[in-house]
């Protein structure tokens, strides 16, 4: 059985960003074309936005 692939356009360079498994909202990936760090802001429809910069209170 073929693995379903979801994809959406990179908001920075419009390249296709593909997911081998169903992404979760909040997941972060990197565009293979322009290297922009992207965040999945919606799964249905699959929507990518440039991930926010690290904030002062982020961390472990």
């Amino acid at each position: 059985m073929e693995t379903a692939v979801m994809s959406a356009a990179c908001p920075e360079c419009a390249a296709e960003v593909s997911f081998a498994r169903r992404p979760i909202a909040g997941e972060v990936c990197r565009c293979s074309q322009c290297s922009a760090e992207l965040e999945v802001t919606s799964v249905v429809p699959l929507t990518l936005e440039v991930a926010p910069e690290v904030r002062e209170d982020w961390g472990e």
């Binding site: 979760i24 909202a25 909040g26 997941e27 972060v28 965040e39 999945v40 991930a51 690290v54 904030r55 002062e56 209170d57 982020w58 961390g59 472990e60």
Partner: protein
């Protein structure tokens, strides 16, 4: 049982935790801190959770949400008091010092001139850290007075309010590595050593992790450190001081562990979920809600 996974960004760690939850057949829901709204007078169904596991990237979002869950009696890992104690280095240091847990010498000032005085009293080199922050960001090793004056001016001028607290620590001449012990309650799950040519050894800054065998003495130190901040799922960072032995440097309440599973051979996400389930079973909602209202 219904487990709530509170998150902001879904990282590899959150994916691994979800896999362990699903492997155990535990019912769960993802709670996106960025999109949730809470009414402090009406649980709106948030009290249906038997336990919340906090995995928020933002300490501010975490304490905000967890305090509200606790208001409705929901057990949380980690508790808001633990997040508060761990997310502010001064709060951590005060808790450790109160309980006589070995920690680097630390001085604090809230004015530029007094901070310079603290640095001069500590001696060079020393370390300046923001009280809020992680991943080795904005740490400064202050080697001389010129550097001290420049760094203090930059922090006072460019930094946010949190940078107006000058947290000065002795520089520990450690052997180009630091140690991290992963704790679940009183139990040490495993340990890693993070080595780097740079004095900042966070893996986020390029430090390389290898397994570190946690002996009884180290486990006892970490148990006491964990209890000092309230216990839970914590990562205790240790420095090896040539003169005084192991010192507790920092305690992390939302630890990353993706690079620590393979070298240690420990299923860290699985052990975290096991601890969360035990917490849910042991908790009494009345006590949790009562603790918040006081």
């Amino acid at each position: 049982m219904l487990l709530g996974l509170l998150h902001s960004r879904v990282r590899v760690e959150e994916r691994l935790l979800i896999e362990e939850i699903e492997r155990r057949g535990i019912a769960y829901e993802l709670i996106d801190a960025e999109t949730a709204t809470w009414d402090i007078h009406d649980a709106r169904g948030f009290d249906r959770f038997d336990v919340i596991l906090d995995r928020c990237l933002s300490q501010t979002q975490a304490t905000t949400a967890i305090r509200i869950f606790e208001r409705f009696g929901v057990p949380c890992v980690n508790r808001s008091a633990v997040i508060d104690a761990c997310s502010d280095k001064l709060a951590t240091s005060l808790a450790l010092a109160r309980d006589n847990v070995a920690t680097p010498r630390t001085m604090v000032a809230v004015g530029v001139e007094s901070a310079l005085g603290a640095i001069e009293e500590m001696g060079y080199p020393c370390v300046l850290k923001p009280t809020v922050g992680s991943w080795g960001r904005l740490l400064a090793r202050v080697n001389d007075r010129d550097a001290a004056e420049a760094i203090l001016e930059h922090k006072a001028t460019l930094g946010s309010v949190s940078h107006s607290v000058f947290y000065v620590q002795e520089y520990v001449n450690k052997p180009m590595r630091d140690l991290r012990v992963f704790m679940a309650g009183d139990e040490a799950l495993c340990g890693i050593a993070r080595a780097s040519e740079h004095w900042i050894t966070n893996t986020a800054r390029g430090g390389k992790a290898s397994v570190y065998g946690v002996d009884g003495e180290t486990q006892e130190l970490c148990r006491r450190a964990s209890r000092a901040v309230g216990g839970g799922i914590l990562a205790i960072d240790l420095l090896e001081c040539p003169e005084r032995g192991l010192l507790v440097s920092e305690i992390n309440h939302t630890m990353e562990f993706r690079n620590s599973i393979e070298p240690t051979g420990v299923n860290i996400p699985g052990r975290i979920i096991d601890f969360v389930v035990e917490t849910a079973k042991a908790a009494t909602r009345e006590a949790i809600a009562g603790g918040v209202s006081r």
